[in-house]
Symmetry: C2
Subunit: 149 residues, 2 copies
DNA sequence: CTACATGCAAAGGATTTGCATATCT
DNA sequence: AGATATGCAAATCCTTTGCATGTAG
């Protein structure tokens, strides 16, 4: 069980590769945007990514961040994440199946990986007969509060 | 296990009661908005609720729908629903804990009630030690396709 | 060289806000 | 009567679009 994806910072070359494999041109802007998205905790909005990004490339525009994130989503490098609160879209660089911890106090959304839980769900739905629906992926939204510990 | 909430249409008096119990004034507008929200399938946007509502109260303004939905959410009569796609907020009159079936073909989001699944999750998290987080509600997002059957 | 990405500014859509008026309790 | 909700319009926020210019492949 882990609360976050691993944050081994990818080298510039690895970032370039990920874009190339996805069929996207590796521009300075996209490299920076992808890098920031990977290192930002939680599920940042375009605005939050932009704030991080301008530290490295000062006149990178917010419009470009929107366009880049859209292309990332289109090729499957990034996901749009469901969020009930707040009115901005949120993005997640982690495309592997995972669950979410949603803190009602801080509005934070944290990734949550738990293979035991995955197995439990797979087994449950293998037996559960759901006429009219063929399930294949599960994502659990766990609402609660962060506590000391 | 049920795919939808029951849609027994509440009487005007029941609607009034629900608002009163929630500590909200029962105005004609709110009664209509709540009624429409309950009878609309899926998870409508404020705009969709408004379209339904003006059929009954022609000059009820969209602003009022927003304000009413906000009050409903504040007192727990209604939920804001997480959605990754689209840029409008969606609302759900069903505040009982429930799960969602997301069809990748039609983009539909259907409510899904399953008390066995609820129990399974409660039991799992009662045993699972999650340092730093106090979980209380679970909502499973089940992605898949509608099939004949 | 050529297709595609960027930056900027303007447009568009969704939501919120302010305030005078109307309504519920 | 007094507190609160409504309607309308303006303001604000978030996101998309158009187009001239720059750059990767």
């Amino acid at each position: 069980m882990t609360f976050h994806s691993d944050h081994t910072p990818p080298t510039p070359g690895q970032l370039r590769d990920r874009l190339a494999k996805a069929g996207l041109r590796a521009t300075r802007q996209r490299l920076t945007i992808l890098e920031c998205l990977l290192q930002l905790p939680g599920h940042p909005t375009a605005e939050q990514v932009h704030r991080q990004v301008v530290a490295q490339v000062p006149n990178l525009s917010l419009g470009t961040v929107y366009k880049a994130l859209d292309s990332f989503v289109e090729v499957g490098l990034t996901r749009r994440v469901a969020s009930a609160e707040g009115s901005s879209r949120r993005y997640d660089a982690d495309c592997s199946a995972h669950h979410h911890l949603i803190c009602t106090d801080t509005q934070e959304i944290m990734d949550f990986h738990d293979s035991q839980l995955d197995t439990l769900l797979q087994e449950f739905f293998a037996q559960r007969n759901m006429p009219g629906f063929q399930a294949h992926t599960f994502s659990l939204h766990i609402t609660g509060e962060k506590v000391a510990g």
